[in-house]
Amino acid sequence: MSSLLTFVVALSLTLMSGLRGWHRAKSKSNLHSRPIYHGLNHGLWVALPMLAISSLWLISDSMIIKPSVLSELTQNSKVLLKDTDFRYLEITQIANGLLLTHTDDANTLQAVQSYLQTKENTDTFILTMLLVSGLLGFRGVNRRFKESTPAREQVERIVKIVLAASSAVAVLTTAGIVMALLFETLRFFQQVPFTDFLFGTHWSPQMAIRADQAGSSGAFGAIPLFVGTLLIASIAMLIAVPVGLYSAIYLAEYAQPKLRAYAKPALEILAGIPTVVYGFFAALTVAPMIVDICRAAGLSASSESALAAGLVMGIMIIPFVSSLSEDVISAVPQSLRDGSLAMGATKAETIRKVVLPSALPGIVSALLLAFSRAIGETMIVVMAAGLAANMTANPLESVTTITAQIVTILVGDQSFDSPKTLSAFALGLTLFCFTLLLNILALRVVRKYREQYA
């Protein structure tokens, strides 16, 4: 509620300033800029400082409130340093009324009180700064008002800065991803040796979260996950590449326009279906089907077989392969086809020997992107592949993947100090690097291809 009120106050202050600027300018002649720009200028000078100050709220929690609450907590009681994240989460949840279980622990209650107090103080402080900065902006821009103020130029300069700042958000996102992954991964490698992670062949991250809890110590060898990921992604590509490529060739080279008008939207529907749907389909329908078929053939298949996940993932990336490939195949100039047909080549020969070789770089890049997507795909493997980190190439057995492990580890409450939680970030960094490599490779191949026909 208070945030809504703040918003309304800030908005009305901005509007007031804008209206004042507009009004003042309107009554003058010999203006440099039209009154509307004076209004905008006055409004921006109030809104922008307030916006900048309000971003303090984003970091106030981790920078001010959390350290203060935790330092108090550790003074009063013997909380292990390891548990602090966990305790803090509990405290905020109690304070926000999210945790329904009652606690009578005096320390916790006190910490909740101190959390609420600190939060209120911080909020009041930021709110005051916010209003002060708004008022200062109001006063400053008002004072400097002249007929000759180049208000339009000033507004446009600010707009350009805002535009540039917006395009920086994408960069900041990447930076955020890289920093978050790197930082937590480094913390992970402080506890688990780098080589154990990259070359170890045993994965079982179960680990005691609290010191007094009994539990096995974890093993963090990621090789089984890499093998599982590659196995499932390879099965998927085995399905998607022939089906997707032949569909693309047929649609681009043979199909009547009418068929294309129906087939393309159908493939787009297939592409738009959320992956959680495919996961449900894989777990509920395909996996039992595979078990039944295998039993009939005298084989034994796990109910969470790699084949089920890979098969459904293959179906999922068919439209991806086919639509990207169709684009590159259609981009091959018609004159090449004419040239080949005029030599007496059949259509199939023309496609195989002229069109496809010409489109090859584009197709390769499409396949790389599809592979990258298969590796990063999460929900299908979470729902249909198992959690057992088997190292096997048998598609009927159960394997687990990088993405499935990340989600499994991080769903639910977690402490950012345990190697189990941190291992998810190490896996995330591996995944990020791998897909990034594939994407860069794909973009490079496709750029070469564009140059060829430009």
Partner: protein, 425 residues
Amino acid sequence: MHNEDTLNQKNRNRSRILADFRFRAYGILGLVIAGSALLFLLGNIFSTGYSAFQQTVITLEINLDEDRLGVTSTASPEEMQEANVAKVVKQSLYDLFPEVKKRKEKRDLTKLISLGAELDVRDMLLLKPESIGSIITLTVPVSSDADQYYKATLTGEQFKSRLKENQKQWLQTLIDNKQVIIKFNIDFFTQADSRYPELAGIGGAVVGTIYTLLICLMISFPLGVAAAIYLEEFSRDSFMTRMVEANINNLAAVPSVIFGLLGLAVILNIFGMPRSTPLAGGIVLALMTLPTIIIACRSAIKTVPPSIREAGMAMGASPIQVTFHHVMPAAMSGTLTGTIIGLAQALGETAPLLMIGMVAFIASVPGVPTDPATALPVQIYLWAESAERGFVEKTAAAIMVIIVFLIVMNLLAVVIRNRTRISNK
């Protein structure tokens, strides 16, 4: 000079034409496989899920007896909470089958109706305390097992019901008496999640999804458009710009689970956004959607002919004015189409939301975007992981709803695209 077709040549040509035919057949086969996979998937989900749009209900006459309830009509709301509603609901069932005497059989009988009956009666007491002492008629859902059994008998489907023989007989009697009927399941659309399949609905998840997508749209659309304008119209082709471009292209292909990690480590832990809320979910999805919108908006801006810009400049408009008065209106439909497609992707995203805690069990419909909530795809995941058979049809039905949403969004994008294509002519 004349190349008479020799026999050899003829054979060769025949085999080449056969090869051509085969190649074409592979293409058709590919399309057929893709098409039948789509049909099988959709058919499978439809046949599993359509029954969830119906609900088996029982009409009970409940005697709100003061003695059995243990409260009077003047009781305070707190006392009402303690009222023994279970007893009156059970009694109404016993009254229907006076021959049931054994305690074990009585327990079997009460298992035919849902716990929802007791909740409904309690709501009734709180709302209308004066009804205590009277007999009311209430239509309540039957238990999930009974619901599944009845639906299966309607379609003739064979499955191993958890109902015992005597329960099946009682149910059949009630069906014959028209006390148990099947009706459209409006609760499915209005209720939030529940531990009991017969009471669970997608209402909470839909509201959560709408909040999440609104937040996502409010953040990603202005940022995406602004970034695209800057990159297309104002940036000089410097090293920095190329970096930003490469960055956006790569960001578009980063797996969604990585965005979940970002959300967890930065948005929840550093920015202290509230966990499990549409606010945090919307921010994560906005960062994911941003590259899609930027790329769509940029290509829309690229298609605006330079002559329009020159015309504007020649009239003495500043670059900013030209951009906002002439270029952006022309590029708007392409941008909107891209935005809708980006939002449609965000609608189906599950993994990042799981990781920022929108996976929690939430039995109430969220009121504001900072309330803990779940989203439709996450709800699908949660139900899909549940063991009860009753949740299977709910999952499939929720999938049908999300696919309808997706199709509507895609149609909207197509309509926008076509409309501007006509108006441009």
